[in-house]
Symmetry: C2
Subunit: 650 residues, 2 copies
């Protein structure tokens, strides 16, 4: 019988199957997950895949639109493999979207800092960059037949004291009609210049008084997820939000693989279109829920890392991944949202957060703005941990930053039973110090399916403190428990027996898993240390630590210090801010002062390339232990361990 | 036999023909001209028409593109009428394009003022608004990995002393590639801010040294014709030009009928598309001839009257034709040429000349700039005569302007044998004072086909001075010549007998023709007088008269004064500048000083609405004679006539 090869993208998983095999079975054999909930009857429509190369039989269903079919989409459960094919799994067919709703729920140990808009108002920071002004113009007559735009500008000058005004083509195109709809009573949407001497742009005109409907969008374009918020500029309230997985995930999990994809053929155009689709989908959800008229939204502020920003703007990112790691731009001028491809309306402007370097991007600048660290006296260490970790240290006087690659361990990558923080992921763990039996907690309180990043940290910390593993992450092979065992020449600890899981297999944490975790935490810790050294400081001088990012919000602080991911500091010094990027974008939507400050803050942020800093490697090697070669750097842990050792020996 | 009605647009000519009649014959019967040179065999393809309503048989030929056929285009010579239909004659099928080449040839009597760029250079006015700067950037390395845009901006600041720089999205999209093409040697195209404090925009980047290729386009959008010039910004030389009839002619001959068309359904969108097509066609011709790379053209300056400007920008012009005659805008911000729909390149900017009022538009402002009257001491009267006449009076201190409707007589409208200034048009004329036999000259030296505007003026002047008509434009019925006769109750003078013409009919000038001419010249003369009165001056104080416009260049000055179209002044005071609008557009392309001056000049130009000025009607009635009720206002003519009368009576 003829054999056909099936390649699954983005995972690059390849398998040979006999001709005639159902595609969904081929995926199962290849270990590639495709959502499917109807048992392969083509009813649920969840197993939508894109046939990129080769011919297949079947797969067409009324669950697919004509456009989708034309593009090559098929339902995997209905497809018969009859040829060598290349199949792409779209993000929505591989990811459990229910996790999106969990994203904002932080751990109990987190202290979340919320934006205090009352304070901002009191301090005079709350001047929306986009204002609406209601005017009653004198209607034209034979003695005064000034052009419509001139008439409006004159009234803005005389009645509202506005100067340096510029008008846009969409406004010119509609003004004559709008002015005559309500007897020359008009609401003008004015976008303040970011810089003092710049122009104030007449973004829109609406008939009658519409000053009470003035909205902005804040958007965070993450490598994995995209979140948007709708902000009421009259009250500073967030009146709608939505999120989605970044559709680009199908083209690579991390920024480097996206850049690689963008370098091929029409890859850049494709990746831009995909992220635009996700963003427009998020916008659609927001508008649907909030029932706000799109016409009343006049600005969108967007923060993303350097690669996400460049892909979003269709700017070739290829030099980001090549030494000497040069991004294309730092500051971006305001763009027309429509021109970029955003579905808001004809007039809204899009402002992008500036980038510091190839790996310290607009999301970090937004976090620095959102957390307020740039205007505080306290020496603050800002950390955003993910596949890449970005670090900023400084205060209102100065700022230094760097980025380091932690690898995918925190997002479940390189971990045998690793997974993203979705339903069924083990996120908390403890162990009986005598029987070594575990207690586990999963997201959604269901049977376990795997281990997510925060669960992994907790597990490693608990295993280390109870002596199940040593400071190199190796199991104590003398302990009397069937959970510690060797399988396929690898030592592991069984966290859940197969009958207790959703997998029908034992879930374990292995020595290679622990090794990957140690590398990841070592990279971040040594990044912090190297950055501190470069600016001539030590951990002791850090007065505040800010943890940003979705993952950051899930970390158990104490456990993170035990494994040496974070330096040991008082818990009170640590603040979790969640999605700092979105917070910064929202602040820029609300207050022009923040938009002005962004420029000077970005220029103030001195970037250090760790690859150019010789001490980084030394710090890294020293950090390849739990918690560190020098336990003295973790005095509280040291004291606890000594106490425990004393108790055990008694 | 079934009768079908055929309506020809834009002429609104309707005729009934028997079913089965060929469309080109129906046109002939209706007196509608359709170009056709192959005798109806469908070979020349010149008789392309658009079937807008109803069904026809035949008319499809390989001379038509698939797109044209789909749109409803057919060849009139191959179409059989079988239904009531509405047919639009596209401009290219009704107008003899050979006239385009004649447009620039002025009469011998004209003194043409050319732009003196050497003088402008000496006076420091010649600072191109768009400059190219060559830079050798330091390539990035590990110690200096600034973003590409930041690197460029730093070098522009340090090496070229440029500040307040802004970058555009197209530049951001290409810069990384361009910088690396020639080892960071780059040519930057910088657009200077029109206002001192504004931003200098980085419009384009090109690898290597391209400073010697820096071009701009100047464009005049006339109601009838569109002219473009390609200007070399290094030498100020015009290195290419082309023109075409404005495709909108098919939708109405004058601005009012275009506005009426724009008010219906998708009329505005259609008219914009049509004028864009013409302009892009002119651009195509220019680029083809000059062989300049479009990439090296970075700006286009466009001048047009208020209606043409608004239609070009797809801005509803409906209030222009309704009291109190309010245009939409005066000043326009710079636009992206691509965004408006011009085919130049991705980065070129389009600057539009501002409008003063609904009927004193950007073409007149450009004429005022191009003629230099705005910076001269002499009190100057600027006249642009066509279907509408625009008048400007003033000097460097002040400027006043107005517009009046002359009607279509000067363009051949309302004149029995009237025609545009095309091949076969009678343009010069004299008469034997005894036999009253004429001597005629035609454009192209071919048999006469009709009388153009300048021919009409000359004819009226000659007939008046020789006593063939009186000061009311009535024929002296006592003269002994067969050329003066009554036909269909109308008195006329036969200019050419049918055997001498191309028409096979006698060509004559009639009393109603003369009446229309007197109304037209009366409107213009009284416009001049009223404007002078409004600013408290008389004709005597006028030190210089500038005649602008294609028609203006053809006028025989002396004859124009005889009929009282122009006030009687010394011929030396009169200057013909030809297409002042194009001249102004070209000057703005070349010198930023002019672009800056445009704003203050536009604001200085005080507009008078003649309909709001009671004395206008009195002046008009007084001007309804040849040359005027008060012959004293034309002392030279009076003296000549008295002398002649004395000679005759001797």
């Amino acid at each position: 019988m003829k054999e056909c090869s099936v390649t699954f993208l983005p995972y690059q998983q390849k398998i040979n199957v006999p001709s005639g095999e159902r595609l969904i079975r081929a995926a199962l054999s290849a270990g590639v997950h495709i959502n499917a909930s109807c048992g392969g009857e083509g009813v649920c429509g969840k197993c939508r895949v894109l046939i990129e190369e080769g011919t297949v039989e079947g797969g067409i269903s009324e669950r697919l639109s004509k456009e989708d079919i034309a593009k090559g989409y098929r339902l995997a459960c209905l497809v018969k493999v009859i040829d060598d094919i290349v199949v792409r799994i779209p993000v929505e067919s591989s990811i459990d979207k229910s996790v999106m709703n969990l994203q904002a729920t932080p751990r109990r140990t987190a202290r979340i800092q919320a934006m205090d808009f009352e304070r901002l108002k009191e301090e005079g920071h709350f001047t929306p960059p986009v204002e609406k002004i209601f005017l009653k113009l004198t209607p034209p007559d034979a003695q005064n037949n000034l052009p419509d735009v001139t008439r409006l500008v004159e009234h803005l000058k005389l009645d509202a004291g506005e100067h340096r005004l510029e008008v846009t083509l969409p406004v010119i195109r509609k003004i004559s009609k709008v002015l005559r709809e309500d007897n020359f009573q008009v609401t003008v949407t004015l976008e303040r210049s970011v810089r003092e001497s710049g122009k104030n742009i007449i973004l829109n005109v609406q008939s009658g008084d519409r000053t009470d409907a003035n909205y902005a969008i804040a958007m965070d374009i993450g490598t994995t997820t995209i979140y948007g918020q709708l902000v009421d500029l009259s009250t500073a309230a967030c009146i709608g939000e939505a999120g989605d997985f970044n559709g680009q995930i199908s083209y690579g999990e991390d920024v480097i693989s996206r850049i690689v994809y963008a370098e091929k053929g029409a890859g850049l155009e494709q990746l831009q279109q995909v992220v635009l689709d996700t963003i427009n989908n998020v916008l659609e959800k927001i508008f649907k829920k909030s029932k706000v008229d799109r016409e009343d939204v006049s600005s969108i502020t967007i923060a993303g890392n350097t690669t996400m920003t460049q892909l979003f703007l269709k700017v070739d990112p290829s030099n980001i991944r090549r030494a000497p790691y040069v991004p294309t731009a730092s500051l971006y001028p305001p763009f027309s949202a429509k021109e970029i491809g955003l579905h808001i309306n004809d007039h809204a402007t899009a402002l992008l957060y500036p980038q510091v370097s190839s790996f310290v991007g607009g999301d970090i600048v937004a976090g620095v703005m959102g957390s307020g660290m740039y205007e505080n006296e306290e020496l603050t260490l800002f950390l955003d941990i993910g596949t890449n970790a970005e670090l900023v240290i400084g205060n209102k006087e100065w700022l230094a930053c760097t980025a380091c690659s932690a690898g995918p361990a925190f997002e479940g990558g390189g971990i045998e039973f690793g997974m993203r923080a979705a339903k069924g992921a083990i996120e908390d763990f403890s162990i009986d110090p005598y029987s070594f039996e575990p207690m586990i907690f999963t997201i959604g309180d269901v049977r376990p399916k795997g281990i997510c990043g925060s669960g992994l940290i907790t597990m490693a910390a608990v295993l280390f403190e109870t002596g199940v593993i040593n400071n190199r992450g190796k199991f104590n092979r003398d302990l009397d428990t069937p959970r510690i065992r060797m399988r396929n020449d690898i030592w592991e600890y069984v966290v859940a027996w197969k009958d207790e899981t959703q997998l029908g297999r034992d879930i374990a944490i292995t020595e290679p898993d622990l090794d990957n975790l140690i590398r990841a935490k070592g990279a971040i810790y040594s990044g912090c240390m190297t950055l501190l050294e470069e600016v001539g400081l030590t951990v002791d001088s850090v007065e505040k630590i800010i943890l940003a990012g979705g993952f950051g919000s899930y970390i158990d602080l104490e456990k993170a210090m035990i494994i040496g991911l974070l330096p040991e500091v008082d818990a009170e010094k640590v603040v979790f801010i969640g999605n700092g990027s979105l917070m910064g974008a929202r602040m820029s939507s609300l207050t022009n002062r923040i938009r002005q400050d962004v420029f000077s803050v970005t220029q103030k942020m001195t970037n250090f390339e760790l690859s150019e800093t010789p001490s980084y490697m030394d710090n890294y090697i020293a950090a390849m232990f739990l918690p560190h070669t020098e336990i003295e750097k973790f005095p509280r842990l040291k004291a606890r361990m000594e106490l425990r050792r004393a108790q055990t020996s008694v």
